[in-house]
Symmetry: C2
Subunit: 410 residues, 2 copies
C-alpha cells in the first residue's frame, strides 16, 4: 500500500508560505507503514488538481489532498474533487448549525461565505475539526481512499491524528507494514551501518538509515502478519540494542530534547544553559516542550566577552589566556550558569558559527560543549562543517546528547 | 514563463529529512518572475523521474531537478535524465581532475564511486560547485531548459544564486515578469487589503497578499517591457508607501531581524534580550544573522521566577502584585536586561505559550512585550492564537517590530 499527497495552494508555490504539511504527513504515513509514492504542490485550480488526483488514483491506494477547504473564493478543492469524481455537493445541515453556533458563541454573525463549508461531497464521511470551520472528508472511490484535509497545519495535524490515522490503518489491514524506528546519536551514518553489517546476523531484516544532523534514524521494517512481524521486529531491536547500547536514545516519535526533558523531570533535576555560538537555539528547542518550565530554570546568551565575565563570573585572565573559544571557557560557562541559576546541571556552548572567523580564535565550526554537575564537569571539542545555521544546530544536538549520557550514566 | 520543480530523493518521501529546497527555489523563482506551476517530490527511481520530467517538459518552459547527483548507487538523476532524453553520458576530464585534486589536497585518495560525478550529459553546460563534488548541469532541450542541481541545500543554494539565476533571467528575457515585494508588519492581511482597496487608485496594478505570522508580503507584479514596467511598479510602490508608511519595513529579500540588525549596526547601538515565554527564539533568530555579535550583547532566558528576581533585579513584591505575566513585569525585564548588559536597548517578553495555563496568570496566548531605552520604555499587550510554537513566533516578531518602530522613530 502506498499513498500520493497533493498539497493544494497557489501561495505554497510562491514559497512565501512554508509548507510543513508535506513533512508531517510523510513522516506519519511512513511510520504507519504507508510510504508516500509522490508528493506534489499544485495551484488552486481545477485542472491542476484533476491531473494530480488522476495520477494519484492511478498509482496509489490512498490519495490525500490538503488545503483549499476555506470559505474564500479561491478555495476550490472540495468543488474540484466533486467535479472530477462526478459527484454532487450536498448541504450538511448539522455542520451548518454547528458553524452558526460557533460564531454566535463568539458574539458574531456567521459570514455568508462560510456556508459553502457545509456543502460536502455526496457519500463522504465528515471529519471533526476542533480547530476550524472546514470539515475533513473521506471518500471511498473504487477500492481506493481519497481524503481531504484543511491546509492550516494546526487544524490538519489534530484531524489527522484523531480521525484519519485510525481509518487508514484499518484500510491497510490486509497488507500491513510495521516500522520501528530506533533513534541514534553519537555515531555517523556510515559507521553505524558498518558496525551493523559486521554483525552479519541473519535475524536482522532490511534496515534503512536516515541522518539528521548528529542524529541517525535506524528503521526496522517488516511486512505481513502483524503477530509474527512484531516478534521479528522485537527480535531485531534486541540485537541492535545489545550492539549499539547508549547510541540509541529513543524510538519512533521520541525527540532528543523530549527525552532529556523526561529524564530531568523524572529525577526531579533542573537545568540552566549558557549559550554563546548557538545563540539561544538550544533554549528555544527546550522551551518548545510543553511543561519545560518544570525543569528548565533559564539561560544566559553570553554573546559578548563582558557577559561571560560579569554574569557567568569567568575570570578575565583565564579568558585572555585560554581564549573565548576553548575547553576551559566552555567548562567555566557551564559551571557559572549552574551556580547562577542554582540548577543541578549547567551546559556551556562556545564556538565559531561563521561565516567569518577572527583567526585568533580558531577556524569556523570549532565548538566546545561542556556539562557541569555536582562535583565536576565534562567538556568535548567538535569541528563542525556546514553553514552558520547547521553549526548552531549540531552544537545544540551534541550538547543535549552530552547531558543525556550524564543523566543515564549517573 | 513558468517552471516545474522536481525534488528527487526517496528520503524526502519519508519526511525524515527536511526538504528546504522547494521553499527556497519557489521563493527565488517567484521573485525572478518565473512562478512555479507545480512542485513534486519523487523517489530515486527512473520511472518516477520520467513521469515527472515528461509532465514538466509538457507544461512548463523550465524544469529544475534537485538531488540524486551524489556518488552512491542510489543517486541516479543524471543517468535517468540522460536515458529519458536519449543522450549519452560523457566523461568530463576537467571535472575529474578537479575532484582528484580536491581529495589529494585533503591528503585523501578519491574513492572510485566519485568518478561517476564526472560523467555528464552530452551537450550540457557544467555549473561550478564550490561546496561539493557534483557539478550542476544545464541542458537546452527543444526551446526548453532542464537544470540539474545537487540536493544538499548548502551546495544547491550557492550554485543557484551564482550560476543558475543569471541564465534563467536571460532565458526569460522575451517575456519578463517583474515582481516587487513590500514587506509589511503591524496590520492584518484583510485590513491591509481594505485600506488599499479604499484608495481606489487606477495606477495600482494587481497586488497579492501573503501573510506569515505577523508579517504580510505585499506583491506588486507587472509583465512586459522592463523599462516601462519598472516605472509603473515604482509608481505603485510610491503610492503604497505614502499610504502605509511605517507598516512597510522592507522589500524583497529583507527580513525583519535583518533590518533591525542593520538599523542597530548603522547607528552603532546595542541590544540585550530578556525572554520568558519566547524561550530563546528571538535570540536564536537574531544570532542567525552573520555579524550579529557587533550589536547583540546577549540575553537572559528568565524561565523561572527566581531568575527574574535575581538576574533582572525585579522586585519580588512587584511580581506578587502585578503577576509574572503583566505589563509591569515585561517593562521591568526590558529595563533590567538593558542595565545588566549595558546595552542601548532592552527587550522583555513575558506570556503564556500554553498548551496549559495556570489560570491565575491569564489565558494561553496572553503576551506582554516591552522595549526599554535611554529615558523610558514602551509596552504592548497581545492576545495570540495558535499553538505553543506559533505563540512564541508571533511574540518574537512583534518584539522586533516594536524595536524597529522605536529605531526609525527616534
Amino acid at each position: 500500500m502506498q499513498a500520493d499527497l497533493i498539497c493544494v495552494g497557489s501561495e505554497l508555490l510562491t514559497g512565501l508560505v512554508e509548507n510543513s504539511n508535506t513533512g508531517f504527513l510523510a513522516r506519519r504515513l511512513w511510520g504507519a507503514g504507508i510510504p508516500l509514492r509522490e508528493s506534489s504542490v499544485v495551484a488552486d485550480n481545477e485542472e491542476a488538481i484533476r491531473t494530480a488526483l488522476n495520477r494519484g488514483l492511478e498509482m496509489s491506494d490512498l490519495v490525500i489532498l490538503t488545503g483549499g477547504l476555506g470559505p474564500t473564493d479561491d478555495d476550490i478543492t472540495r468543488e474540484a474533487v466533486a467535479a472530477i469524481l462526478g459527484l454532487p455537493l450536498v448541504l450538511n445541515r448539522g455542520w451548518l448549525d454547528r458553524m452558526e453556533e460557533l460564531f454566535t458563541g463568539r458574539g458574531l454573525k456567521m459570514p455568508d461565505n462560510n456556508r459553502k463549508q457545509a456543502y460536502v461531497i455526496e457519500g463522504a464521511i465528515l471529519l471533526e475539526n476542533r480547530r476550524g470551520t472546514a470539515p475533513g472528508l473521506i471518500i471511498r472511490w473504487k477500492e481506493k481512499l481519497i481524503i481531504l484535509l484543511p491546509g492550516p497545519p494546526y487544524e490538519m495535524q489534530a484531524m489527522f491524528e484523531e480521525a484519519v490515522l485510525p481509518v487508514i490503518l484499518n484500510f491497510n489491514k490486509s497488507n500491513p507494514v510495521t516500522v520501528k524506528t530506533l533513534k541514534c546519536i553519537g555515531m555517523g551514518e556510515s559507521m553505524l551501518e558498518e558496525k551493523i553489517k559486521a554483525l552479519d546476523n541473519r535475524d536482522l531484516p532490511s534496515l534503512s538509515y536516515v541522518a539528521r544532523g548528529y542524529e541517525v534514524d535506524l528503521q526496522i521494517k517488516g511486512m505481513g502478519n502483524p503477530g509474527s512481524i512484531s516478534q521479528s521486529i522485537e527480535n531485531a531491536e534486541r540485537i541492535l540494542r545489545a550492539e549499539l547500547g547508549d547510541y540509541i536514545f529513543g524510538s519512533d516519535e521520541d525527540t532528543l530534547a523530549g527525552l532529556v526533558a523526561e529524564l530531568l523531570t523524572g529525577k526531579g533535576l533542573t537545568l540552566a544553559l549558557a549559550e554563546s555560538c548557538s545563540g539561544g537555539l538550544l533554549s528555544d528547542t527546550i522551551t518548545d516542550i510543553p511543561g519545560s518550565s518544570k525543569f528548565y530554570r533559564g539561560g544566559i546568551i553570553a554573546y559578548s566577552r563582558k557577559a561571560k565575565i560579569n554574569l557567568l563570573v569567568i575570570k578575565e585572565e583565564m579568558l585572555e589566556r585560554e581564549g573565548e573559544v576553548s575547553e576551559a571557557t566552555a567548562g567555566a560557562m557551564a559551571e557559572g550558569v549552574r551556580a547562577l541559576f542554582g540548577a543541578d546541571y549547567g551546559i556551556g556552548i562556545t564556538g565559531i558559527a561563521g561565516p567569518e572567523s577572527d583567526a585568533s580564535q580558531g577556524p569556523v565550526g570549532l565548538v566546545f560543549v561542556a556539562v557541569a554537575y555536582s562535583g565536576g564537569s565534562e567538556c568535548k571539542k567538535l569541528q563542525l562543517g556546514g553553514g552558520r545555521r547547521s553549526i548552531k544546530e549540531r552544537a545544540a544536538q551534541f550538547a543535549l546528547d552530552l547531558l543525556r549520557r550524564k543523566l543515564i550514566g549517573g
